[in-house]
């Protein structure tokens, strides 16, 4: 266990330095508290040409002690209206699910978490999720219904989230 935690800490330290030196467009990541390497704060910039354009959404990434063998959990702290984001802000995408077969049968094992993922790939997947919602197995049923049947309602609520995120700057 101590060896595993040490490995995770070293890996996260390395990834943090890489992101600071070579930032990636679309998001900015850092530690919530310098004393805790396992909790990151990420600011995702709304992808252009999507409903979330112009928004700044904050999220907390919590890494497990056995990272990278287990996936981290991502939770939006900004208000978010999306079919694949739970009402409490937790993100539900396939790469963040534990390895193995899906108990519900919605996704393939190859789509789930693998140790090769990095903080960058995780955040990029979340940005991709914002562009292309998946309403087949929604985390937020109301948002999925709006996305499927009442697109105008969905757009209106997303615009509210974008405006609110701008006001919190």
């Amino acid at each position: 266990m101590a060896s595993s935690a040490s490995q995770a800490s070293l890996l996260l330290q390395k990834q943090l330095k890489d992101l600071a030196k070579n930032p990636v467009d679309g998001f900015s990541a850092g530690l919530v508290d310098d004393s805790n390497i396992f909790e990151w704060q990420v600011t995702i910039i709304g992808p252009p040409d999507t409903l979330y354009d112009g928004g700044y959404f904050n999220a907390i990434m919590t890494f497990p002690q056995n990272y990278p063998n287990s996936p981290p959990s991502v939770r939006f702290t900004s208000e978010m209206w999306h079919p694949n984001v739970y009402p409490d802000g937790r993100v539900c995408i396939s790469i963040l699910h534990p390895p193995g077969e899906d108990p519900n049968g919605y996704e393939l094992a190859s789509e789930r978490w693998t140790p090769v993922h990095t903080v960058e790939s995780i955040v990029l997947s979340i940005i991709s999720m914002l562009s292309s919602p998946n309403d087949e197995s929604p985390a937020n049923i109301e948002a999925a219904k709006d996305w499927r049947e009442k697109r105008d309602e969905f757009k209106k609520k997303v615009r509210q989230c974008v405006r609110k995120s701008q006001e919190m700057l």
Binding site: N22, P23, G30, L31, Q41, I45, Y56, L169
Partner: protein, 536 residues
């Protein structure tokens, strides 16, 4: 980290740190700033290096959005670190509701076709086409304010032509289903059709509809049709049984149509037909007296009043109250049926010749129209299936009676049911009429007759070209007098047999006439003779 602190302690003065700014559009630049400065001040420095004003700058570092009140050092910013900058947009103005209102645009096209179709059907009624009287009544009764527009349309042929040439009207005319559904919406019209199945056939025939629409589009054609109808009415009134036939046709066909076109609540319209009938009856009684004074039908025919040179007045137009106009605008069905039932007034050989001769050139148009009318077929069937009425018709003319007594084959042919059925088929009658017209023209002009024969034999259905050709032949037809029985040429004498031979496929008129003359009118012998000639 410890080493860093030692270096910081060693240098009392704060050094300028180099920070990298990365914009969302991909541009990247370096800025030198004091780490102890506030974020607001730092934004002003950044504004100098790019075109984004300080209030619109959004700086993001390590997942945090930098606040203007905090210092750069409090966020842990160090030299050679990169800060994301995003341009914040101004709040968008509230979008206004769409100003376009689709409701008025939708209403305008709805009224145009209704008005145009109402005027169209009204004029069709004016031409005496029974099939369209119901449709006219539908629009006339449903839209009272449409009367004024109908009058305008009736008085302006050019306006009617423009309306008919609109693409919308073309589409309406090309869909018989739509027209039929419009006509069927009238309860009285539906009841009338239930009582007379033959009328339903007329209303459901697209070709009759299309021909009538073609007539409405062409003012000259419409005027000619009206003149022909008026002439036929005069001829019918001058024959001994013409008036009774007219009254019978009026009671069975014309009156129900008029009732179907006017609602019961409109009393003024209901009274018009009866007033017209009374006026017509008085006028015809006078004519009957004049007819009784003469001894021969020929004199009566020559003494008939000259037909009107002007088009008939429109019953539903400004002259709606005119009894004369209403009396002289019955449908073509009545005109032709009465003519077919009254051969005694005009001397001729057999029944087929009677039908053709009584029509004459002036009735070419209506003859072709009547041939496609099932109601007329039914009436002819009733007349010919009744031996008593058949004998009465034949005995009315002394010449016909003498011919029947002298020629037993002729009597057998006429009384043969199979022969009668063949004679009354629409194809045979149509070819007979066309052939009769060709022969009549041929008497005056040999060349014209030849051309007409070729065109007539090839025509499967009557179309506008055939109608035009027959109009051009009106002058020649009018010049013909009533031929005398002993001097009847072979073409008229064997008109029925010639039609049969043409139907069988023998299109050489001269050969057919020669064969029939040699065999004294026996069709079977003529066929054998023609086939024998071909064998040689």
């Amino acid at each position: 980290m410890g080493g860093g602190d030692a270096d910081a302690g060693g240098e009392p003065a704060a050094a300028q740190a180099t920070l990298h700014i990365r914009c969302t559009n991909g541009s990247k630049f370096a800025v030198r700033a004091d780490l102890g400065a506030t974020v607001g001040t730092f934004k002003a420095i950044v504004a100098d290096s790019c075109d984004v004003p300080a209030p619109q700058q959004r700086l993001i570092y390590k997942g945090r959005i930098l606040k203007d009140e905090q210092t750069l050092a409090s966020y842990g910013v160090e030299t050679d670190h990169t800060i994301h900058m995003v341009r914040g947009a101004a709040p968008p103005p509230a979008s206004t509701a769409p100003a376009a209102n689709q409701e008025p645009t939708t209403a305008a096209p709805a009224s145009s076709p209704a008005a145009g179709l109402g005027g169209l059907l009204q004029n069709l009624g004016a031409t005496g086409a029974a099939a369209n009287s119901g449709g006219l009544g539908l629009f006339g009764s449903g839209l009272p304010e449409l009367d004024h527009m109908q009058q305008q349309l009736a008085e302006n042929p050019n306006l009617m032509r423009e309306i008919m040439n609109m693409p919308l009207m073309q589409n309406l005319m090309n869909s018989p289903e739509l027209i039929r559904s419009i006509i069927m919406n009238n309860p009285q019209m539906r009841e009338l059709i239930d009582r007379n199945p033959d009328l339903a056939h007329v209303l459901n025939d697209p070709s009759i509809m299309r021909q009538t629409f073609e007539a409405v589009r062409n003012p000259e054609l419409m005027r000619e049709m009206m003149r022909n109808t008026d002439r036929a009415m005069s001829n019918i009134e001058s024959s001994p049984e013409g008036f009774n036939m007219l009254r019978r046709m009026y009671e069975t066909v014309q009156e129900p149509f008029l009732n179907a076109t006017t609602m019961g609540s409109e009393g003024d319209r209901n009274s018009n037909p009866f007033a017209a009938l009374l006026g017509n009856q008085g006028s015809n009684q006078a004519r009957d007296s004049a007819a009784n004074g003469t001894t021969t039908a020929s004199d009566t025919t020559s003494g008939a009043p000259a037909p009107n040179t002007n088009p008939l007045p429109n019953p539903w137009g400004p002259n709606a109250g005119s009894a004369q106009g209403a009396a002289r605008s019955p449908p073509a069905t009545n005109t032709r049926s009465t003519t077919a039932g009254g051969p005694g007034g005009l001397g001729s050989a057999d029944f087929g010749s009677t039908l053709g001769a009584s029509g004459g050139g002036s009735d070419a148009t209506f003859l072709t129209q009547v041939l496609q009318n099932p109601t007329m077929m039914q009436m002819m069937q009733n007349i010919m299936s009744n031996p008593q009425s058949m004998n009465q018709l034949l005995n009315m003319n002394p010449n016909v009676r003498n011919m029947m007594e002298s020629n037993t084959q002729m009597r057998e042919m006429i009384q043969n049911p199979e022969f009668i059925r063949q004679l009354t088929s629409p194809e045979t009658l149509q070819q007979l009429i066309s052939f009769q017209q060709s022969l009549m023209s041929q008497l005056g002009q040999q060349q014209t007759g030849q051309e007409r024969t070729q065109s007539a034999s090839g025509a499967g259905n009557v179309n506008l070209n055939t109608l035009m050709n027959m109009f051009s032949g009106l002058g020649a037809g009018g010049g013909l007098g009533v031929p005398n029985a002993p001097n009847v040429p072979p073409e008229e004498l064997y008109a029925t047999q010639l039609a049969q031979l043409q139907e069988m496929g023998f299109f050489d008129t001269q050969e057919n006439i020669r064969a029939l003359a040699a065999t004294a009118g026996n069709v079977h012998a003529a066929v054998e003779r023609l086939l024998g000639n071909m064998g040689q």
